[in-house]
């Protein structure tokens, strides 16, 4: 029911992505300007590193006492007239949301950006039950039109080019009229971002007013005040949550933090790590339904709180992943992500955080490629505002795969044979000597080999440098020592 999983086909997905010219164009932006803006804004803030440490401390503290903070959050939320719905599984969350929508006789719901609703496959589920969800974040709206999942956790449509967006709008907005020109159909679209944004705003504007329910995510849950917090750049979340009669915030348990003080600490590193902004354009706190003295706001305020395996991560090697604030810095800086984009990972969370988290959520057998498809360059850990040891977690998954024999036999035997030799130096020396003699002979003329049996992965795209000489360093060193004596 939740998003279609293709993680098991990672290799094929990646091969396809490597041949997609539009994706390659889009990835240049992520690897270039987006990654460098993070560096610049971080540099402008002398206490950036100290703030990261503080953020880690806050999150670690919360994770130790998460039960207390969640209960406090519920108390405060209830006191302000909101209602908390505890949901263990995606199914429970979907059913809860559907029941809430039905209680309002909802036909149309507007949605702010939420990765948790992707995780539970909410849109498809609502559609099946006769309710139309409309994404209001521009990126989410674009991929909704394209019937695609997000390819990046903060830039869901980063893989789409302007030309593709213009085409989608032409197809999906046949009645769209040019601004200030009533009766004039827009026709072939300009690919100017400003024009396209205006069109999306115009189309979505009506939806905000028509919606019966507004569903948003929540970046943070404040235990002290019972408030949910969203961080956006478009203001769409505010319209989504304040215009309809019912606001449902869908979030997950690890988003809770103690108080507003902590919020301000983490906000200072979130946007800088994500888009390289000092702050996102909108930071909105929802503190319950409309009070009698309020002029506007929803009549009902619900928080749907998902676990989906998160509480099982507490106290394990996976616990640090619960510090994640979903900024996307790890993918913005990942060489593998830059090559294959987000869809190749085959589930909701792509990039290094996905490679570390997805095996837990969708099963290691299905996601076994993800923690393996990393060079362990360590850049993700370097940029993660929450200092999550992503390579260590990926290695932990590799250990699980090795133990449970999920790693393909050929790879496992290869490593075990090699390890056997490494544990028997004489055997290793013998094997190394023979291999090096052979490689040296084959590659002597050119100093390199253009192809090599069993190493097609290397030689399809690169030459294989031949060994410098027919003998190893160790044997050369030994004969030199012998001669010197």
């Amino acid at each position: 029911m939740s998003m279609q999983i293709t993680a098991q086909n990672f290799e094929a997905n990646a091969a396809k992505a490597l041949k997609d010219p539009n994706l390659r164009k889009a990835m240049q932006i992520i690897g270039g300007p987006m990654a460098s803006r993070r560096v610049e804004t971080a540099r402008e803030l002398p206490e950036f590193e100290a703030l990261r440490d503080e953020g880690v401390k806050i999150k670690n503290h919360v994770l130790k006492h998460i039960d207390l903070y969640l209960e406090k959050f519920e108390q405060q939320l209830t006191a302000r007239g909101g209602k908390l719905h505890w949901c263990r599984t995606p199914r429970e969350a979907r059913e809860t949301i559907l029941a809430l929508c039905r209680s309002r006789n909802a036909k149309l719901v507007t949605k702010g950006k939420s990765m948790v609703t992707e995780e539970i496959g909410l849109n498809a589920f609502l559609e099946e039950h006769g309710i139309t969800p409309v994404e209001t974040d521009l990126g989410e709206y674009i991929i909704q039109l394209a019937h695609e999942p997000p390819s990046h956790i903060i830039g869901p449509a980063l893989h789409k080019t302007r030309e593709q967006v213009a085409e989608l709008f032409e197809d999906h907005h046949p009645d769209y009229e040019l601004p200030n020109m009533p009766g004039v159909k827009a026709g072939p679209r300009s690919t100017e971002p400003q024009v396209l944004v205006t069109e999306a705003r115009q189309v979505l504007r009506d939806r905000y007013f028509q919606a019966d329910v507004g569903i948003t995510g929540a970046n943070f849950l404040i235990a002290e005040t019972g408030a949910t917090v969203i961080v956006t750049n478009e203001g769409n979340g505010d319209l989504t949550q304040s215009l309809p009669k019912m606001h449902i915030a869908v979030s997950s348990i690890e988003k809770v933090i103690p108080n507003l003080e902590d919020l301000s600490t983490i906000l200072r590193i979130l946007a800088r790590s994500a888009t390289g902004q000092e702050m996102s354009c909108y930071t909105t706190l929802s503190c319950g339904p409309k009070r009698p003295e309020d002029k506007d706001g929803p009549e009902e305020f619900h928080v749907v709180l998902l676990d989906n395996g998160r509480s099982e991560m507490l106290g394990t090697a996976l616990e640090p992943l619960l510090r994640c604030i979903r900024c996307g810095a790890c993918m913005n800086n990942c060489p593998v992500y830059h090559s294959v984009g987000g869809h190749a990972y085959g589930w909701v969370y792509p990039g290094p955080i996905g490679a570390a988290l997805d095996p837990h959520m969708i099963g290691l057998e299905t996601a076994r490629h993800l923690p393996n498809a990393s060079t362990f360059c360590g850049k993700c850990e370097e940029v993660c505002p929450m200092r999550i040891p992503l390579p260590d977690v990926m290695r932990w998954w590799r250990e699980q795969a090795h133990e449970k024999q999920i790693t393909p036999p050929l790879q496992r035997w290869g490593i075990e044979a090699w390890a056997f030799a490494a544990k028997h130096p004489w055997l290793y020396r013998l094997g190394a000597g023979i291999a090096i003699g052979l490689l040296n002979m084959l590659g002597k003329d050119k100093g390199r080999l253009a192809s090599l049996p069993l190493a097609g992965g290397w030689t399809d795209g690169r030459d294989f440098p031949a060994p410098q000489s027919a003998s190893t360093f160790m044997s050369q060193y030994k004969s030199k020592q012998g001669a010197a004596r």
Binding site: A14, A15, L18, P335, V336, H338, S339, V340, N372, A373, S374, T375, F376, C377, G378, K379, E382, R395, W397, R398, E399, Q400, A401, H402, T407, Q411, I415, E416, W418, A419, A422, K423, P425, Y428, A435, I436, K444, D445, G447, R448, A450, A455, G457, W458, D460, G461, R462, D463, F464, P465, A466, P467, Q468, S469, T472, F473, M474, Q476, Y477, K478
Partner: protein, 262 residues
């Protein structure tokens, strides 16, 4: 600690790739450390640091291999590797392998304290500011290998030593710290992705206009050299130790003694 004539007694951890593919790097490392006043030995019983097993999830074999390494290098003042990757494995990851074996953990930590990457050893430990090498009139660019950079903080040290070689001109890449896509077994298991990553790297290298690419890790060097040669790039590739030791008479990586179109 045992010292002969108060000279530090240093063991060279050769590393598999130097042993197999580029012996001259081992000899260059020995020369650099001897020039700096060390007594250098190469324990014969050494093999691999265990990283291939470690990163493949084979923790038992990794621990067994690590114990061998710990034993072989127990008696030296320092252990030095011409690699940030193998150096980082021993210095950063060994102690964590023995959480359940306190005695081995103590020995792993002891080795960790004595373990250094070559350029970091010369600059940070021996406080060497310059190397004694004949002038070399070459435009170079330097790739920061991931493990050396992020696990061991190797960044300024090789540059400081290179600066002391007369005639060398360093032209930095746009992204010298970006991974080359080697990644150990990754380069074969996910060859297409690895090739794509290294092609971004070689574009960056070529754009510098440098004649010579240097780095401190053979894995990255073999990968980048392999791609540059496949592309027909004139950029030559060497380990930084070869240049610092002035041992550049042998052909560059992926080139032949029978001559190369430059």
């Amino acid at each position: 600690m045992s010292q002969i004539d108060s000279k530090p007694r240093v063991a060279l951890f050769v590393t598999c790739l130097v042993d197999l593919f580029r012996p001259s790097v081992g000899f260059a490392a020995i020369k650099l450390m001897e020039d700096a006043g060390c007594v250098v030995e190469v324990p014969e019983a050494q093999v691999c640091c265990g990283q291939p097993a470690y990163n493949s999830g084979d923790r038992n074999d990794t621990a067994a291999i690590a114990k061998q390494v710990i034993e072989v290098f127990e008696d030296y003042d320092y252990v030095v590797a011409p690699s940030g990757s193998c150096g980082g494995m021993i210095k950063d990851h060994y102690p964590a392998l023995f959480a359940a074996e306190p005695d081995w953990q103590r020995r792993a930590e002891d080795l960790s304290g004595r373990m250094h990457e070559l350029t970091s050893f010369l600059v940070d430990v021996l406080k060497i500011q310059s190397v004694q090498t004949a002038p070399q009139d070459v435009k170079i660019t330097y790739h920061d290998s991931c493990s050396g950079l992020r696990e061991l903080g190797v960044k300024a040290q090789p540059r400081a030593l290179l600066e002391s070689v007369q005639g060398l001109e360093l032209v930095e890449m746009q992204t010298p710290e970006t991974c080359c896509g080697f990644g150990g077994t990754f380069c074969v298991k996910y060859g297409e992705i690895s090739t794509d990553i290294v092609s971004r790297k070689t574009a960056d290298i070529n754009a510098t206009g440098a004649d010579l690419l240097l780095a401190g890790d053979m894995g990255c060097l073999l990968n980048m050299a392999g791609k540059l040669k496949r592309e027909g790039s004139p950029v030559q590739v060497r380990h930084v130790a070869e240049v610092l030791a002035g041992m550049t008479d042998l052909p560059a990586i992926g080139e032949s003694s029978l001559g190369e179109s430059k």
